[in-house]
Amino acid sequence: MTDATAMSVDDLNFIQRIRRDYSPLVIAMVGLFIVVFVAGATLTDDFLTWFNVKTIIRDAALVGIMAIGLTFVTLSGNFFLLSMKEIAALSIICFATLMGAEWNQWGPAEGDPTTSALMMTFLVAFAATMIIATITGAIQGALIGLGGNPIVVTLGAAGLFFGIGSWWSDNLVVSYRRPHGAEWLGTGSFLGDIPNITVAFIIIAVAAELTLRYTTFGRQVYLVGANRAAGRATGHENFGMAIKCCIIASVCAAFVAVAFSGQVSSAHVNYFSSEFGSSGDMTIMVIAIVMVGGNSIMGGYGSTLRTSLGAIFISSIDNMMVLNGFNSGARVLAVGLMIVFSIIVFALVRRGSRAVE
């Protein structure tokens, strides 16, 4: 490229660059959507308030954290973990069981437990849950890395993990009493009126994005996802990458399970099958968020930042509709349309990008 050409490209203003990079159809679709969204936001009473903005981000936090973990799997070209909610189900049973176990109480036998005793109980339960999550991720990652079809492997794993959780809990609600050491995560707020789980979501989103952008591991994720043969040629086998990415996704799912259990002081294997989102299935919701974020289902293209924004975006649409009095049917329809819309737009954008390349 000559200096003269470089100068002319740098001189393009924002509008001109948009027109250069995107087709008129994409510009029209996104423009129309932005107009509708901004109009909806400004015309909806109580939408643009600090309280409601907090509500939106808090609403997005749990599914958002899971989706960030899953994004690593998708970016590495290993499709999705269809076992996300089952990993969470097994994790929440493990966590709640240990939180409620009498042998695990460090502190006086009589009277209220001390803060240190509660925290010790929490730490042991948390550590055990994360170990289980790591094992579940490693098993799935190894099978996928060995050439197993991600759909088949994770569907099978889903049944296995749910079955273990169901058997372990005897299908009953496992509860533990307040005060307990997980309240700070489930319902606490260290930063004024911002819930800790919201802070955790933001920290995890930033950390994940920095990892992908600025670490060797992050670049390897993109490399293996975009071109497995090239990754292999440079010594980066998918076997190790699949294990690492599946562990990240599993640990994120387990973290969500811990936070949710801390909020409700209980656990049940079905909590993640029926409780999240209008679709009623957390795995589907999490996959939807990854897709709405515009991450390539084939791997190698996307980011956790997109996923985080996707979670907030879906939460915003849902919130706006509730404030306007829509019931669940209309909201499911709207979220479904948003997913389809995002997939079309990002597909058009990527097709345009490849044409330029």
Binding site: V173, S175, R178, T187, Y271, S274, V322, S328
Partner: protein, 344 residues
């Protein structure tokens, strides 16, 4: 062998294996029951299954339970498999996932001549001709009792100098059959009181959706003032209470919460954060089903076509003493009867 032949062979093997299992299980002297219901993995249904199995064993019945994952098509397939196996029980227990969509299966069951007892969802005009009775909860009574409890709490607030109380309703999805029955009964119960419903949010079932729905409703209604909250079940209400607390409301003082079903968190009632609930026991529902089967097999009819489980009110004052005698003759406390976090 062609693909079609292989498929046919596999299907035949499946039906024969299924038939062999059913034959082995049912070909005994004891009266037999086949129950079609949802998954044991769901807390409420898990306790229902425990209720029917334990009581059937106590009464000397053989029972086989076919679970579906809240999927009527799956249940329809199970019905076809049972009928294809050709070994019929003495009674079918039918808990449809979707009573309207499952009407074909019910008709097929009834056509065998084996009596069918419907569970959990009240009979409708289309299916009542195919069943010999109903056993299960009364959505209306449950909601009415919640309304009466809320009136009682509002009266206490009025006596303390308050007036004109706003109610937020945390609902089942409005498309769910129990919603209409519940909301209408609740409205009737609070009619003429100081209570006015100002919001009705239907985020979905469970605690997480209760939390999310309440958080959004608070954003819209906090200026108007929220004084009472009614949860269509305690799981939804438990999430709602968390959202209200995070929004700065003091539960039991600023906002009074009333729920139903006792599938939430017992500790909230003990701590005064939830005023009360109405007991709806899945264990009792399962026991009642077997009692109805026993009555029908003995007399050829039921004294009552509709048979409800009791829905007594539970508040902090009676939480340790409320008990129901099961149809197995034992006395159960609410920790055993309820399906939520009540065992802690």
């Amino acid at each position: 062998m062609t693909y079609l032949e292989k498929t046919m062979r596999n299907m035949m093997v499946g039906v024969l294996a299924f038939g062999a299992m059913a034959t082995a299980s049912l070909a005994q002297d004891k009266p037999s029951i086949i129950s079609f219901n949802g998954p044991a993995g769901e807390a409420y249904i898990g306790r229902f299954i425990k209720g029917i199995k334990d009581t059937a064993e106590l009464k000397g019945f053989d029972i086989q339970v076919f679970e579906n994952q809240f999927n009527q098509a799956e249940q329809d397939q199970q019905v076809q498999q049972v009928l294809a196996a050709g070994v019929l029980p003495d009674v079918f227990i039918w808990w449809p996932s979707d009573a309207v969509a499952g009407l074909g299966s019910l008709r097929a069951l009834a056509r065998t001549g084996v009596p069918v007892l419907k569970i959990n969802q009240l009979p409708n005009e289309q299916d009542k001709q195919y069943i010999f009775g109903y056993a299960g909860p009364d959505d209306r009574l449950r909601a009415r009792n919640a309304g009466y409890m809320m009136r009682e709490a509002a009266a206490a607030k009025s006596a303390a100098g308050g007036e004109g109380f706003n109610v937020l309703v945390l609902s089942y999805p409005h498309s769910y059959g129990g919603y209409g029955l519940s909301i209408n009964a609740f409205k009737e119960a609070i009619a003429g009181s100081d209570l006015t419903i100002i919001g009705d949010v239907d985020e979905g079932f469970g605690q997480a959706n209760g939390y999310k729905g309440a958080a959004k409703a608070i954003a819209a209604l906090r200026d108007e003032g929220i004084h009472f909250v009614y949860g269509m079940d305690d799981a939804i209400l438990t999430g709602g209470i968390k959202a209200l607390e995070e929004a700065g409301y003091s539960m039991g003082e600023d906002v009074i919460a009333v729920g139903t079903v006792c599938n939430g968190d017992k500790q909230l009632i003990e701590e005064g954060k939830q005023f009360g609930t109405t007991l709806q026991s899945p264990l009792h529902e399962g026991q009642l089903a077997i009692k109805m089967v026993e009555e029908y097999l003995e007399t050829g009819e039921l004294a009552n076509y509709i048979n409800f489980t009791p829905n007594p009110a539970v508040t902090a004052t009676n939480i340790d003493t409320v008990a129901l005698r099961g149809y197995d003759g034992k006395l159960y406390g609410i920790d055993e009867l309820c399906s939520g976090a009540w065992g802690g």
